[in-house]
Symmetry: none
Subunit: 196 residues, 4 copies
Amino acid sequence: MKQGPEPELRRHILDTARRLLTSDGYAALSMRRIAREIGYSATSIYLHYDNKDQLVHALIDEGVEVLYTRLSAVPVAASPEERLAALGRAYIEFGLELPEYYEIMYWLHTEYIERYPAEKYRKARQNLNFFAEVLREGSAGGRFEDVEPLLGATAIWCQMHGVVSLINSQRVDRKLRSAALVDEVVRRIVQGCLRT
Amino acid sequence: MKQGPEPELRRHILDTARRLLTSDGYAALSMRRIAREIGYSATSIYLHYDNKDQLVHALIDEGVEVLYTRLSAVPVAASPEERLAALGRAYIEFGLELPEYYEIMYWLHTEYIERYPAEKYRKARQNLNFFAEVLREGSAGGRFEDVEPLLGATAIWCQMHGVVSLINSQRVDRKLRSAALVDEVVRRIVQGCLRT
Amino acid sequence: MKQGPEPELRRHILDTARRLLTSDGYAALSMRRIAREIGYSATSIYLHYDNKDQLVHALIDEGVEVLYTRLSAVPVAASPEERLAALGRAYIEFGLELPEYYEIMYWLHTEYIERYPAEKYRKARQNLNFFAEVLREGSAGGRFEDVEPLLGATAIWCQMHGVVSLINSQRVDRKLRSAALVDEVVRRIVQGCLRT
Amino acid sequence: MKQGPEPELRRHILDTARRLLTSDGYAALSMRRIAREIGYSATSIYLHYDNKDQLVHALIDEGVEVLYTRLSAVPVAASPEERLAALGRAYIEFGLELPEYYEIMYWLHTEYIERYPAEKYRKARQNLNFFAEVLREGSAGGRFEDVEPLLGATAIWCQMHGVVSLINSQRVDRKLRSAALVDEVVRRIVQGCLRT
DNA sequence: CATGAATGAGCATTCATTCAT
DNA sequence: GATGAATGAATGCTCATTCAT
């Protein structure tokens, strides 16, 4: 990957790529289209990214990074329940507020994931640890059911990813307010952990 | 949409399209590839579907239909909890066993959703009713928390869609067995409904 | 390879390709360029040839075929010397009169040869047999030196290919008449075989 | 052409160009690839060569030069036959041992020949004189047939060029050993000159 | 019912070259 | 001497679609 001291255009490229992806869908993410949009020749993009793969990977990288930053910023809480709720809410809000960052991580077909460097992949998984950790705490404190942390965290991930994914693709009944759905999902995330 | 008296080829087209989609990915879903695969000319497909949109819509229709059939076949159960678990399991199994039916509904949908006829869209929503119904029952019987049924059903949908989606796109840690994750998700679906 | 009953355009394509190759060189042999030249869209060429490789192979095929036809047409002769001279002259004349057929067989880089079907390759070699055969005859009759026929034929091939190649690429001194050079080469071909 | 006081980079450029040409074929001979390979920017090459034409011409120049040096180094011999054989062998060995020097003179030449300066062209012809000279000697001494020296030399050139060309492009039957073919060609070169 | 012929638009990528620094 | 940024043109190839038959 190239890494010049001129990151302006790189930013422009990434932002435009993201905008295109969310506004016009997967098919709009073409080198030519991005170039046209930023008013440069298609060739110019190749001055900053060796090929489309690397550009897409850069997009994914940023998504992973931003999510990590957001989860890191979740303040400590009085109880595991509260912390879990806060983390879940942070994840979901990230997905809803920055769909252009979120969707690139999930919309893109497996083909891009296959070529995604294993090392970065591991970093992406790190975000799950926030959840595994709080499950461990809650479990140790006796408040949460004893469930294998990775398993529990992944199940919670399913809930969070599901709600972000359905809302962003506008599949949720219009009669429902998104905020209400998010609240309910968060409530179910926590309740699903409690010892019965 | 055209509706000739020769449904054999239509079947052949849809099946092939689905097979291509899951075997070779999104990019393989082209009129030409389908035609080549079934041994007909590309033009022939247009005798049965006006354009690619309509073909894709037909694929989605079938997915909705098959899911409906599966959910309808879930037997009555002794308790709302059991019925809910059975319904959830049925949904998830549908998504995992027939990814070629499931993915086209959610993965491709996003690009075709705008052009998807509103009337069919409503029919797709019907599948949510199975879940809203059992929530109503459980709530009436005092076992379930009192939650607005559509809201609760949608939250459950998030859980189911999330797990299907993450497993099928192979994003779940390989250390986890899919079956275990599904069990945990189902468990959390039920527990999320219980009165506390 | 496609093989429709509509060979007109195929002919047009092949002829144009050959003309371009000899007039404007290797780089002019592009699908788009051919298309532009024949007044069709680039896509149309793909209706007749699956890809560029197959088109080029078709060009080579025809060259091999025409050469074979010409060598076959060389009449029987009174002596091996005369037959050898006639064969050599036929080969060289083929190369000089139909450079567009000859050059495609030799100019094109090895990359095309690597993908050339082995079976056709063998057929191309067949043309060497005409020469091996007459060497065998001459040797049996005691007129020619005893040299392994394949070896001798290949050495003669070098002479023929060399003269065609140098004349066609205009490397021969302008003071020399081509006809004189060809005569001299043919003379040397025969004399190189004679028993000393 | 530019002529700076820094010939190191020029050397580096030419060597790399040649290496690329023989290792990865014709298509690899691009300014960008050369630049990448030597670790300089593409622009830098233009400090030493006005354009690709001039670079290629420089490559050809060197080929002509090296061949001249090799032919010059052929020691005097007892007889014209021996000297002719030695010269022929030297030419062929040059072509086979240094294909990166030889091929650029003949393979690429065709596309660049039109723009090759006439003055250099004449120098290239000089190499033919070695052969014309020995023909003259042999003829004077009565051992060789009386053939116009330029004509004879050119005919011999055809033989040498043919064998180098066919072997290097791997068109010779694998059953044949290159060394045997070269021997036979050299033998025929000499025999073709002898008075009968 | 079915097809072959045809096309314009699009794709990712590479190229030789220029120009300001 | 050297470079980064930039570009227009070109490449092989695929696509959805149309139309006359």
